[in-house]
Symmetry: C2
Subunit: 724 residues, 2 copies
Amino acid sequence: MEEVNGVPKLMDLLDEPVPGVGTYEDFNTIDWVREKSKDRDRHREITSKSKESTWALVNSVCDAFSGWLLMLLIGLMSGALAGGIDISAHWMTDLKEGVCLNGFWFNHEHCCWTSNETTFQERDKCPQWKSWAELIIGTTEGPFAYIMNYLMYVCWALLFSFLAVTLVRAFAPYACGSGIPEIKTILSGFIIRGYLGKWTLVIKTITLVLAVSSGLSLGKEGPLVHVACCCGNILCHLFTKYRKNEAKRREVLSAAAAVGVSVAFGAPIGGVLFSLEEVSYYFPLKTLWRSFFAALVAAFTLRSINPFGNSRLVLFYVEFHTPWRKTTWLGHYPVLEVLVVTAVTAVVAFPNSYTRTSTSELISELFNDCGLLDSSKLCNYDNANVTKSSNELPDRPAGNDVYTAMWQLSLALVFKMLITVVTFGMKVPSGLFIPSMAVGAIAGRLLGIGMEQLAYYHHDWVIFRGWCSPGADCITPGLYAMVGAAACLGGVTRMTVSLVVIMFELTGGLEYIVPLMAAAMTSKWVADAIGREGIYEAHIRLNGYPFLEAKEEFSHKTLAMDVMRPRRSDPPLSVLTQDGMTVEDVETMITDTTYSGFPVVVSHESQRLVGFVLRRDLTISIDNARQRQDGIVSTSRVFFTEYTPPQPPNSPPPLKLRGIMDLSPFTVTDHTAMDIVVDIFRKLGLRQCLITHNGRLLGIITKKDILKHVAQIANRDPDSILFN
Amino acid sequence: MEEVNGVPKLMDLLDEPVPGVGTYEDFNTIDWVREKSKDRDRHREITSKSKESTWALVNSVCDAFSGWLLMLLIGLMSGALAGGIDISAHWMTDLKEGVCLNGFWFNHEHCCWTSNETTFQERDKCPQWKSWAELIIGTTEGPFAYIMNYLMYVCWALLFSFLAVTLVRAFAPYACGSGIPEIKTILSGFIIRGYLGKWTLVIKTITLVLAVSSGLSLGKEGPLVHVACCCGNILCHLFTKYRKNEAKRREVLSAAAAVGVSVAFGAPIGGVLFSLEEVSYYFPLKTLWRSFFAALVAAFTLRSINPFGNSRLVLFYVEFHTPWRKTTWLGHYPVLEVLVVTAVTAVVAFPNSYTRTSTSELISELFNDCGLLDSSKLCNYDNANVTKSSNELPDRPAGNDVYTAMWQLSLALVFKMLITVVTFGMKVPSGLFIPSMAVGAIAGRLLGIGMEQLAYYHHDWVIFRGWCSPGADCITPGLYAMVGAAACLGGVTRMTVSLVVIMFELTGGLEYIVPLMAAAMTSKWVADAIGREGIYEAHIRLNGYPFLEAKEEFSHKTLAMDVMRPRRSDPPLSVLTQDGMTVEDVETMITDTTYSGFPVVVSHESQRLVGFVLRRDLTISIDNARQRQDGIVSTSRVFFTEYTPPQPPNSPPPLKLRGIMDLSPFTVTDHTAMDIVVDIFRKLGLRQCLITHNGRLLGIITKKDILKHVAQIANRDPDSILFN
């Protein structure tokens, strides 16, 4: 009777999955194949039900459209947030210099727009806008006013950065940095709970505004990708399809990354390509189309909210973790570190007009081609020989101001390079995009002006002869700056196609596609010759995340048998047999080992593989059965077979666990070359693969084993691979 | 002694691979995994040798750079060819209307450039250019001259199309059509020998010029992709690395496809994305970077050769194979078909100025926004209220010419739609890109003018109120045409990201990115709702090519055991045993079956899998051994084991075939869901996969089995899958 009683209960157990079975622990890698087949099962169920009732049909239609709806929501939310961040950061940056009398919530530009006393020539000068010195001591003239402004500038900067670092430390440690390396790791299948949660979103949004406003040499564009991914992750909870499936959620996150770049730069196509080239791991065409749609919605939303602020030239950053920084004593005191760096930045930056303005304004000025009416110092050319009416300006000799500007730019270049290296990796939201573009743009502009003057004074030189006659416009320093910015950014991130698309969506310079492409290609070659790793990969490696790089080919001649566990000297592989073990045997095996899964074989003698069971599922199922199922005791037999043989009388009821066994584990033979194995892991997103020889189970290879093997080959410490 | 003698010979045999082993037959699918691991072996060998001598080191460096060098060559060659094609087609198109007295090799535009009597307003009128009527009867006035020109136009068209179809039939049947569906199939791993050969290249280049010049409703852009791929394939023969490896060669061809689009549209980034989104099957990041480089070189080369011809607006086409066309009797007489269609096209097209000009000029005119000085009929607006000096033109009432133009455009729309359907699939090089863009552009322009006039006369309507005040420029008909062209093209090809990038590289309209994206997305949705297949997929299916579509997800709940062979009623799987068969047994098995490969098992009883041998390799090796190896007779034992047991005396020497056996065949269990199996086939590029149950070999699934299964599920005839 007991067995007869047991059967319907077992059936219940199989029909209703035990809660927790099929989920993952924190800091673990998901199994893409399992997640995707779970989703297909769900999809099939909905499709087959849809023929039964109208309600089920409506449900199935909703399910089919939920992906697009989710994209719409992510686009709207990210666009709105980015617009808010843009406006706030702009206002707070100006707050360091002064305040608007018409209303303290106006930034400098808006303040003067509302004023009627502004001319087009001096847009940023109007009586309503008061600098701090003017407000407090009533004058802008003289050294005392200058020091006053200087002091206020530094104080505001310190206040903002202090608030930012404190908030991050207190509420959301995951909010620091750009987040892109972590997102890349998450997209490859790793789980970091809370990294894309609501607290991270709230704190990152606030502290990002503070960090940018403090004037540190960092940008908001990388963090915006993180913000968009948080939006994506949070909105996933509205739809069962995406909430419960880690693989489907990662498809959404890939699209969200595209949205992030789309709002960061106002470059929707560039965003899609960035996600494809740089961030995503699994990017099917369906995700491409959805990213495209989401990026479009986001760009449109942003443009509606903030039509002037983001039209052209707002950029995007990446975190820079150089290994030696990890050992500085300052790194152990993050708040102090941030305050010191902010103080240095503010003190050094204020006197030089090129470092005092926001970096994106600096880049914008450097890209700019000098017109006749331009008031910038960089445009102070000797216009004696130019007719005012002509639209095209020939090359002209530089005036004194240009030489002053070149000196200031050279100092700014050195300062930016040094402070940028120090700034990245601080515990505030930060990115690398704007600073590296600024460095490239300064260098490019300096070279451009140099070439222009050379060409003007020496147009008979061989290199200029033929294409650069006197009085012609043969050198455009702004273009040199643009190409320099692209090259510098390309060297840091190793982007190619997405870089060029972002650059021309940003600048509108579609005609310069050929020099931009050449710059991207050259900088990639040069940088690759020095070191193969881009900034993200270096960061991932330093943090020990389990990321299987798809860019480099594995080229060593090892076979699966060389990498698999157990090694020759190790004890044999821990396996379960399909019908020969008791609950106690299984529990002992779980306690004695730390493996995250066990193969199931027909018998120890034959070693013929039946399936694979995950440790977590096994533990949960046995605990659950002991609590809820009558008569399951330590001596109960465990069965992974389809049919349970009749048990002898008086023996405890059997525990049937076929339901939690993966019936289609991946296997390869021991003679398979490791490069093929690595390829399979990458392309299918496996977590483990079993090794057979002539049909017998021999061992197992996990993602961690592969990463350790790769590290060993590259002469790195295999123990730096921390997670599975 | 015989065995001892046999051993060194066997060793030789194993060391020097038998010629032919590891190659493929025509109309077969390659095994990506095998090709890629062959290349890795080769690479490792070169790397390890490079430490031995300076020459080997140089060799290894050359090998590393050969990929980039090849890209450079492909870019140069394709750019040069495309420039030649552009110039010739332009000249021959003008030849239908007249001839230049300064030299018959000048086209109309160049002829008038060389003349001094041309004004900017009437660039295309100059005394040096004589229409045929003027040349023959001395006048351009009167009905007789008109008929004369008409007749010459039709005669030239017929001559050109006759030459084109005859050349294609006589020398290179593969040169017809656009070639893109076939290239897509080839890139997915199929072999069609000669499709990318030198004859195809030569004939396609010549006939493409003829077909375009004949005025048929087709374009040269799709065929240019084919031309670039031929260049890629031919240049591959210069480098052993690419000549001998089918997988590596396909990487080059992916880049060549990008080059094709790059030169067809002058859109390098669009080309890379087109290759990625639409054509390629296996597109690793390395190929992305190389495509980028090659596309850059090609665009640059083309611009150097033909700086005016291709700057903006030259487009690209695709073949249109509607099923019913296959049954028309005309289709059986390709030459007659071409002549009839050419005659109809020429006769109908000549009287309407919008169909007489080349299609790309038509599109250019439709995209154009009307300035005050424009002489186009489409720009005949009532300018009474417009001040001549202002740069922005408000909406104006249409003049009489605009209404005439609208009538002509409507007729052109109907004609283009009909003739385009008939033209594609004729046995001349042809594409769909320009004609479908033209259809979309005409429809868009008509709608745009309609809206503009509505807005002018009814600016108080709800839909116009608020954003369209009187006297403002609120509707741009040219933008409607551009969006219409993008939408129509998107509907036909289902491109999204690449379409938008091509459109804005083509038109320079970076500001219109949002409407273009919206158009691409909407047309994709609408077209997908009507039928999921794009034009290329439909073509591939109609031709029965073995192409495993990566865009649609396989969603049926079948398991590997339902699809595998043998089925339940079939005879058991033909397997080889690793040590129990004679040469005669093996030969009998080869003769009795048609399978392209056989699994090797330990024994018939255990069915434990050892490896997999391809039929072709087996046949070649046995024939070779019988001819070259002493003592191999029908009763010789065949061994696939690592060690051959000592043979009894007086028995013939054994034949060792372990060298040709694949020691790491892919296996999955019989319980694996078919969606996972399809995924594995797609992502790894498999040709076959073995099925096991509890460690025993049960059956096999080939790519053809999967395609048949997919066809069956979609209610199509499984026997339409012709190739493996």
